[in-house]
Amino acid sequence: MIPELGHFALIVALAIALVQGTLPLVGVAQRIPGFIALARPAAQGLFLFVAFAFGCLAWSFYSNDFSVLNVATNSNSKLPTAYRIAATWGSHEGSLLLWVLMLSGWMLAVSVFSRSLPQDMLARILGVMGLIAVGFLSFMLFTSSPFERLLPAAADGRDLNPLLQDPGMVFHPPMLYMGYVGFSVAFSFAIAALLDGRLDATWARWSRPWTTAAWVFLTIGIALGSFWAYYELGWGGWWFWDPVENASFMPWLIGTALIHSLAVTEKRGAFKTWTVLLAIIAFSLSLLGTFLVRSGVLTSVHAFATDPKRGIFILCFLAVVIGGSLSLYAWRANRVAPGGRFELLSRESMLLANSVLLLVACGAVMLGTLYPLFLDALGLGKISVGPPYFDSVFMPLMAPAILLAGIGPLVAWRRGEPAQLLRPLRWVAIVALIGALFVPLAFGRWAALTSVGLLLAFWIFAGTLAALVVRFRSTTRMTPAFLGMLLAHAGIGVFVIGVTLVKSYETERDLRMAPGDTATLGGYSFRFDGVREVRGPNYEAARGAITVQRDGQTIAQLAPEKRVYLVQRNPMTEAAIDAGISRDVYVALGDAVDAGGAGGTDAAAWTVRIHIKPFIRWIWIGCLMMAFGGVLAASDRRYRIATRRQEDASNPDATLLRRGAA
């Protein structure tokens, strides 16, 4: 009964989305106030029905209803409760429903927090979002319904993929989707502005907090994914340039360019067409990512079970939405007036350079991800593009961007004063050089790349600190937006330190150990105390015991496991980590060697992988700093002041007069 209710709710939601996607847009074009007024209630109604449908699916998982095909394929009665619920989005169909839930959630938020937006602007924005919802809801209802029945019902389910049975599964997809889907708001703002013909600084001010919020979620989502892969996958990596990872990273890169470009449009009324284009590209990349993951066009450990028919549907949807929006852009962009002047040395030009670098970096990632497909499609052979390519191409592109981020905040708007810049710049360069040359010595080994990475990190630290000092001494007050920017930039520095130090100084050993054997690595000694069998709620495991000592003191007892889940029976490694701010000690079990029986605990020895990863946690701390910086920036008071805007809402000429100087 409940799955059918859920299915019905989705159908109603599609109907509402159709209304929402057409009538308000028609209403604005033909000046029909009744249609325009439909936008808000439609969005809110859509959210209600989608949330209800989602609740039905979640309930089916929670209550182990194996007559629902999706539940039978992805869950199991022995699965712990949290994962049973997370399994709701563990499949292609379920994650689509999550996507639509997020979309309708953002729609609801826009419909509620938009008192300062003019009615017709709001109508257009919600209208565009409604059209996107139509696409996804149709896709679900026609090709990938999560509510399909399995009759007769299975006795028990096939269990959730063991790799997904982890807290990461509870948080990573929702965060990621909040981000991906959140860019649809920026997209809709951009389309609304193009349709309207009105593109000015006020538009940027409305658009900014929404875009920053989406960016924050995406940052957290990607960081969570990386962290999860690190402790879950068993070989200590934290980023693999996997096609699906790239599919989430590309919108992030453009999203970063977008939030910076919006800053210029808001403050100086410049870069308007560029910002609109970035907004369209950011969301287009989200949609492209959706396509890549679900169509079977690329292989990835993340890819869902693929079906070319679904791929065709999504591709057509992509073509319509992105093709349509880029056509609108091509048609309307030339009507936008140019913005303010600025010199070659100015904050505007630095931000423009930043946009360009991020766009090129995104292009490079896309090139690498799709190149095997290009060659194969042209019949030119089959190659594979892996981490070595991305690392060697991406890092040189990001280096200039980081340099710019260090000094950008020190350069004035419109015309930077070289003399004023040189003083802090000298100081920044000195600090950076000292850090770059001396920190490697502390580790005992010097390498050119290490120094380059450290140089960039210290440069951005010093530049950020200098900007703080300059502002402190000036008469302008410290706004949350400014502090948010500083925090986020500092976060980049922290991230770069983490990446540089881990890549330069991580050590590992892969060896065979019998109970009682000891190995040393990086000043730590590891004693293998054997393996014993344990039982989990839905798995059996061989749990190793490793005692880690330093200078004779025991600092950790690690228990890596080799699990075999009862239903799917694939062996899975659970690494054991001793976490620390300055290093992670990471141990994983390999296979039993010289075993009497397969994997028995009577086995004489096991292969053990030991890693020491210095400063690896800084990578994710840096990401969190960036995200928190974004939160600060979006919470700035000026976005919440609704006073003047209400008059503007009824007087369109007022906005034209206002030149948007902040």
């Binding site: 007036a337 030009s349 292009g363 190659i383 390519y389 060896l511 000429d653 034209l656």
Partner: protein
């Protein structure tokens, strides 16, 4: 006690890395095999190198690497051996040849092109707005005097 530790460590070196094969191996060889296996892709896995993979085929191929290294072949010869049998796909880092020229040079060409466009755009902007910009006080004066008839800079029909 220390001698025992040294002995244990030495024996660990001897049994390390190629743990599935009981062949004695020294640190140099272990390093070389590791480096080579990081350059080759595991064909049955998703996006992993031979070094990181636990798949059986990966183990077989690593054993091949071990034998070839022991037989004294150079890195280039060993990689060529693999490519002859599995094609370019087995290279973790795409080769540099005519079909991958665009791949390797693309990002930098793109960067150069973008930089040129950027500089050109910036120059054009500087030359474009020729009228003297009003100072802030002057602007306020104009607005106050002329009221809503003040000339608007933001115009739908503005040229670019």
């Amino acid at each position: 006690m220390r001698r025992l530790l040294v002995l244990v460590l030495l024996s660990l070196f001897v049994f390390s890395s190629m743990a599935n094969e009981n062949k004695p191996v020294d640190i140099q060889t272990e390093q070389r095999i590791r480096q080579l296996s990081e350059k080759l892709r595991c064909l049955v896995c998703q996006n992993q190198s031979l070094a990181d993979s636990n798949a059986e085929l990966a183990g077989d191929l690593r054993r091949q690497l071990h034998e070839q290294v022991a037989a004294g072949r150079s890195d280039g010869e060993i990689i060529e051996f693999m490519v002859q049998r599995y094609g370019d796909f087995v290279l973790y880092e795409p080769p540099f040849k005519s079909t991958t020229l665009l791949l390797w040079l693309g990002p930098f060409v793109l960067l150069a092109a973008a930089a040129l466009v950027l500089v050109a755009t910036l120059r054009r902007r500087r030359r474009a707005a020729e009228e003297p910009a009003l100072g802030a006080d002057d602007k306020r004066l104009v607005e106050r005097v002329l009221g809503s008839a003040a000339p608007r800079r933001e115009h739908d029909e503005g040229t670019r």
